[in-house]
Symmetry: C2
Subunit: 657 residues, 2 copies
C-alpha cells in the first residue's frame, strides 16, 4: 500500500535500532525473531480461525497448543523461565491452556516443604498431573481472610476434611479447573480441635488420573461464557467431605502435627514478594504489549484510511492527518513507550529487592509492594482505556472482531480486576504514601521512591513560554509538586477528621476517593521521571534519542493537559501557562505524527501475532477484511432461518399477518 | 435477600411515584407493564440462552422473534410507531431482526415520489419483500460524498447500471443485508451522459423472492463476527453490471428524465430533519436505557456483595458502603437521570421543529442539527464509559457474560460510531457554536440554546462555602461561564490563525481538539441547566423532588470535580472553592447511597429484561450464577480435548516429552 510505504520512507530514525533498544539489544531481537519464526511455522499454533470459534472450540485449541508447546519446548531445550517462553507468550497472545499449572507449581515451591516439593514438582513438571490454583470463591475475591471453605483436621485418621459450607464458599474462577485439572491447591480456613487458624493451602485431587472422572465428594465444572478468555476453562468447585492426608497441607511455614498441635515457623514475608513479582510481570505481558498491538493496528489503519477532505479540491486525507485522530492515538503510543520503561524500572527494583531478601533483609518489601500495587493498577487502567480509544478511533471496522481490537480490549479489561482489584491496590499504595509522608515530615528516613515527599522546591512553575514546557525539568517538577500536594492534602484531611473525633476507619473511608487519586498521581510522577531519565541515558544513541524525547514530552504534556485541574488547583501552573502546555502539546502531535508508523513498526509485531485485518504490515486493509469475512461460519451454511421463518413470511404462508 | 430488602425499607421516597413520573404518567406505566407482561409470557421472546448462543444461532433466533413479533403486533393492533413498540424494544433490548426494514421503508417514504411510495410501501409493510439500506462502504462511512459505487444511466434501455468499481466501494455493514434482505436502497454516484451528479438512492433487488438465491450480478454475504450484534446479519454487497429500471431511482427531489435530462426539485432540507430525529431517538433507546440497566445491575449487586471490613470486629461491609464504590456508581446513576431529561428536552425541540417545517419554516434546522449531533456524541460517549465503570465495579463477576454487563458494554460502544462518528458530530456542533458566537458578538440574533454565548455575567463564582455549591444557580452559572470561555477562546484562536496567514482549513484542523472540547462543554451545560429546570418544575411533587434534586446536584458537581481544569483555568472557580465542590460532592455520595437501590428500582426493569445473574430483584446472586453456569454448553459435553490431548499427556503416551 503506497500510503503506508510513504510513511516509512520519511522515518526520522532507524526503526531497526529502536527495535533493538526496546528489546534490550540486537542479540535479543535476533533471538525473539528466531523463536517467533519457529512458532509461526507450526500450523498447530495458528490463530487464523480464532475469531470464528466457539468457547468449546477455543478451549480445545488451547489445550492442543499447550500440549504441543510442551513437546516443542522440550525438543528445543527451552524452559518456562527462559527468554524464549516470554517471546512465545507474546506471539501467542497468551492463547494457550495450562497457565495455572505453573502457578500450581510455584505455590508448592514457595509454600511447600522440601519433602512436598520433592514429591509434587517432578509429577507436575512431567505432566503426570495437571494443576490449578483454587483461591477465589463465589463470595470472596480480593479479601482472602473472608474465604469460607473449611478444612477440619481429623486427628483419628490424620486427614483434613474439606468442605464448601455454603454456596458463596464455592471456588469460582480458577483457571484450568473447569475441565482440565486433576489437582488443585485449595485455600481453606483451617480448624483443629474446633479452633480456627485462618487460611491455609491444601493439595486436593479433583479428577481421576485414569479416566478424568470427578473424584468422590467433588462437584466441578466450567463457569460459562465470559467477555474473553474463552480458551480458559475457568471453573467452579464444591467440596463435600473431601479427605486429604495430613501431608497435603503445604507446610513450609506452618504445620499441623499428628496430635493436632499447630506450629508456625519461619517468615512468610517472602509471600509478599511472590505477589509483587506476579503483579510486575503482568504489566508488560498483559497490559503494555496489548496496548502496543492496539497502537500498531490503529496507527497503520489511520495511515491507510482516507476520509473527507482537509482542503477543498484535494484528495481525501489520511485520517491520521486530522488533529483529533492524532490526539486520540499518539498519546497512547507515547504511553506504551512510557510503560515499557516503567516495566524496566520495576524489574530492576525487583531484582535488587530479591537480592536483599536472599540476605534476609526484608526492608525493601513495603516499597516494592506499594509500587507494584500502584503501577499494576495505574498501568492496567491506562492501557485498557488506551486500547478502547484505539478501537473507537478505527470507527466501524475497529468494531469487527477481524480488526483484532475487540479481543485485545475484552482481554485487557480483565487485568484491571485480577491479581488485586485496582481500587483496592491503589489504596494500598496510598497507605504507604501517607505513612511515608508522615515519616518524612518528622524527619525520618523513607524509601528512595518517596523521599521527594519531604522536599518541595518551587511554589510556582517557572515556565515562561511554550518551549519551556519541553524541558523535562519543568514538567517533572510539576508532576512532583502535584503528587506532593495530593498526598499531603489528603493526609491532612485524614488527620483533621480523626482529630475532630471521627473514628480512624470511618475517616479513612471518607478519604478514599482522594487517596486513590493521590496514589495515581504518585505513579504518574514516577512514570514521567523514569521516562525523562531514560531519555537522558540515551544520549549516546543520538539517532533515536530525539524521537524518544518527543514521546516523553508528549506523554508528560498529555497528562497535564488532560488532568489540568490538579496542576491548576493551587496555582502552581497558571491559566496562561496551561495555554502554553496546550500549545506545546498540540505542536508535538504534528511532529510525532510524521514518525507514527515507524514508531509502531519498531514494536516489531508480525502480522500473525497481530491477527488483525486492519493492522497488517502491507496495509491491504480492505482486501483482507473481505477475504477474512468470507471465511466466517455465517457464510458457510444457509441458515435454517430461511426455510423456517423467512420463506413462510415472504410467501405469505404464515398464519396470515 | 435481606441485604436488598433492608435497602428498600428505608427509601426516602415512593418508588412507584418516581417510576410513573419517569414514564410520563401512571397510565404509561400501566401500559408499559401490560406490554412487557405480554411479551415475557411468550417463550419465543425468551433471551434465556442468549449468552450461550453462536452467531448463527443468534441470527436464527432474531429472525424468529421478528417474524413472530409481526404476527403478534398485528393481532394486538399495535403499530411500529406506537408506544407499545417502544416498550417492546426496551424489553427485548433490540435483540430482533429486520430493524433495517423500517429504515428501508422510511427512506422510500422520505425520498420517494408518490408513485414509488404507492408501489413499494404496501409490499414492504406486508413483508412481500425484506428491505435493507446500503449506504456505508468498505472505504467510506461518515463522508457520504466519497462513496464510490456507480449508477450509470443507459438511455437506450432506460435503466441504471450499478457497479462496484473497486473493492473499497463494496457496501459493508448494512444490517439485515448479509442473509435476510431481498431488496435494498443502494446509494451510488449517479452518472448521466458521462457527467457525475453525486450520490443518489436506488432500489435494488438482491435476492430472489422465490428461492432467496442471489440475483444475477450480486455478490453478497455476512461480514462475520463483531463485538456484539451477533443477531444482526450485517452484510457486504458487490454489484456487477446490475440493471434497475429508471423508476427505481428514488425521485422525490430529483429525477432523470427518459432523455437523460437531470431535474432537481423541492428542498432536501427535510433530509436533515430525518437524520436529526434518528440521532435523537437513539439517545434513549441505545444509550440511556443500557446505562440505566447497568446501574441497576451494579447497584443491586453492590448492596448484596460483602467484602472486607470497614471496621475491625464488624461483619464484612456491603461494597456499596465504600466511598470509592459510591464514587464509581452514583455519578453514573445521576447521569442516567440527567440524560433521561435531556431526551425529553430534545424530543420537545424536535416536535416544535417539525411543526415549523410543516409550515415550510426551516429556520430551526441548524440548531436542531447542532444539538442532536452534539448530544448524540456526548450522551453515547458518557453512557458507554458509564457502563464500563459499572462493569468494572462488579469485579470478576461483572466480567462473566452472565452478569449481563459485557453485552451491554459491547453493544453500547457501537453507538459512539454509528449514525455519525462522535468526533465528526462534535465538530459539526462546534461549527454551529463558533458561527453563533460570532453572530452574537456582533449583536445578531441567534437560536435560543446559544443566546447565552452573548451574555456573560460574573467573572468569579460567588460561592462562599460548600453548601453554596448545592445551589443550581451557582453551578449552572459555572457551567455556562466555562462553555462560553471554551467557545470564545477557541473562536479567537481560529481567528488569530487565519489572520496570521494560515489557510482557513488548516486553521480549523489545528483547532479541532479544542473545538470538540467546546462542543462537549456546551452540551454539558445544557444538560445541567435542563436537569435543574426539571427539578424546579417538580415543586408540586414534593415526595420525589428532594431526591431528584440530590441527583441533579451530584451530576453537576461530579462534572466540576472531574473536569476541574476547565473551571479553574481562568480563576472563575478558585482552588479553595474547588475544595468546597469536592466536599459537597463527597457528602452527596453518602446521602444518595441511602436511596441508591430504590433509585434503580424506579427504572422498573424486569428480571427478564435485565437478563443478569447479578442484577435480579431478589438479590440471589450466587445461586443464580451457579444455576446459569451449569447450563453452559461447556458443561454439556465432555470436550474431545480429553481423549485427544489430555489423556495422552497424562498417561505419558504422547511421543515422549
Amino acid at each position: 500500500n503506497p500510503d503506508l510505504a510513504s510513511e516509512r520512507q520519511t522515518a526520522s530514525f532507524s526503526v531497526e535500532k529502536l527495535t533493538a533498544w526496546l528489546d534490550g539489544g540486537a542479540e535479543q531481537t535476533r533471538l525473539r525473531r528466531a523463536v517467533v519464526k519457529y512458532i509461526e511455522r507450526d500450523p498447530v499454533f495458528s490463530r487464523e480461525n480464532q475469531y470464528f470459534q466457539s468457547q468449546n472450540e477455543r478451549y480445545e485449541a488451547a489445550v492442543r497448543k499447550a500440549v504441543h508447546l510442551q513437546k516443542k519446548m522440550h525438543e528445543m531445550g527451552w524452559s518456562q523461565e527462559g527468554p524464549e517462553y516470554k517471546y512465545i507468550y507474546r506471539e501467542l497472545a497468551g492463547d494457550i491452556a495450562f497457565l495455572l499449572h505453573s502457578i500450581f507449581m510455584r505455590s508448592i515451591s514457595v509454600l511447600g516443604s522440601d519433602e512436598q516439593i520433592a514429591k509434587w514438582i517432578p509429577l507436575a513438571s512431567q505432566y503426570q498431573l495437571i494443576g490449578s490454583y483454587a483461591q477465589t470463591e463465589l463470595g470472596h475475591g480480593t479479601y482472602l481472610q473472608g474465604l469460607e471453605t473449611t478444612a477440619v483436621f481429623d486427628v483419628t485418621t490424620q486427614e483434613f476434611i474439606l468442605n464448601t459450607p455454603k454456596i458463596s464458599a464455592m471456588k469460582w474462577w480458577p483457571g484450568d479447573m473447569g475441565r482440565s485439572a486433576t489437582h488443585t491447591v485449595v485455600f481453606a480456613q483451617l480448624y483443629v480441635h474446633g479452633k480456627c487458624y485462618g487460611i491455609h493451602p491444601f493439595i486436593v485431587q479433583i479428577r481421576s488420573l485414569q479416566d478424568h472422572s470427578l473424584c468422590p465428594g467433588i462437584i466441578a465444572g466450567d463457569i460459562g461464557p465470559k467477555m474473553n478468555f474463552e480458551h480458559i476453562d475457568n471453573g467452579y468447585l464444591m467440596l463435600q467431605n473431601v479427605r486429604v492426608p495430613r501431608e497435603n497441607m503445604l507446610n513450609k511455614f506452618c504445620e499441623v502435627q499428628p496430635d493436632g498441635t499447630y506450629v508456625r515457623r519461619g517468615s512468610q514475608k517472602i509471600n509478599y514478594f511472590t505477589m509483587t513479582s506476579v503483579r510486575v510481570s503482568l504489566i508488560s505481558a498483559e497490559a503494555v504489549t496489548p496496548l502496543m498491538k492496539a497502537c500498531t493496528i490503529a496507527i497503520r489503519y489511520s495511515a491507510v484510511r482516507r476520509q473527507s477532505k482537509l482542503k477543498p479540491g484535494e484528495e481525501e486525507a489520511k485520517i491520521l492527518d486530522y488533529q483529533t485522530q492524532q490526539e486520540k492515538l499518539l498519546p497512547q503510543l507515547a504511553a506504551a513507550y512510557a510503560f515499557h520503561f516503567i516495566d524496566d524500572y520495576l524489574q530492576e527494583l525487583l531484582d535488587r529487592g530479591y537480592r536483599e531478601i536472599q540476605r534476609k533483609n526484608f526492608d525493601t518489601l513495603p516499597e516494592l509492594h506499594a509500587l507494584s500495587s500502584g503501577f499494576k493498577a495505574m498501568v492496567t487502567q491506562y492501557c485498557t482505556s488506551g486500547v478502547e480509544i484505539c478501537l473507537q478511533a478505527c470507527g466501524g471496522h475497529g468494531y469487527s472482531l477481524l480488526s483484532g481490537l475487540p479481543s485485545l480490549y475484552t482481554k485487557i479489561i480483565a487485568s484491571c480486576i485480577y491479581e488485586g482489584e485496582n481500587t483496592v491496590l491503589l489504596l494500598q499504595t496510598a497507605r504507604f504514601l501517607v505513612k511515608s509522608f508522615m515519616a518524612a515530615s518528622t524527619g525520618q528516613s523513607v524509601p528512595p521512591s518517596v523521599t521527594y515527599l519531604a522536599a518541595v522546591k518551587h511554589r510556582k512553575c517557572p515556565a515562561k513560554n511554550k518551549l519551556d514546557f519541553l524541558s523535562p525539568d519543568i514538567y517533572t517538577e510539576a508532576y512532583q509538586h502535584m503528587a506532593v500536594r495530593l498526598v499531603s492534602s489528603t493526609a491532612a484531611k485524614l488527620q483533621d477528621l480523626i482529630q475532630s473525633g471521627v473514628k480512624k476507619h470511618d475517616a479513612w473511608n471518607q478519604c478514599t476517593v482522594q487517596l486513590a487519586q493521590a496514589a495515581k498521581a504518585h505513579c504518574h510522577y514516577i512514570t514521567v521521571k523514569t521516562f525523562a531519565e531514560t531519555v537522558e541515558k540515551l544520549e549516546s544513541k543520538a539517532g533515536i534519542q530525539k524521537i524518544v524525547k518527543h514521546l516523553c514530552d508528549l506523554f508528560a504534556l498529555h497528562g497535564i493537559f488532560s488532568n489540568a485541574g490538579v496542576f491548576l488547583h493551587d496555582g502552581y501552573i497558571s491559566g496562561a501557562q496551561m495555554d502554553m502546555v496546550t500549545a506545546s502539546y498540540l505542536d508535538l502531535l504534528a511532529i510525532i505524527r510524521r514518525d507514527a508508523v515507524p514508531l509502531v513498526d519498531a514494536f516489531d509485531f508480525t502480522d500473525k501475532s497481530l491477527n488483525s485485518a486492519l493492522g497488517c504490515y502491507d496495509g491491504q486493509v480492505y482486501q483482507r477484511l473481505y477475504e477474512w469475512a468470507r471465511k466466517s461460519p455465517t457464510n458457510k451454511q444457509i441458515s435454517p432461518a430461511y426455510e423456517k421463518y423467512l420463506k413462510p413470511l415472504l410467501h405469505n404462508t404464515l398464519s396470515k399477518l
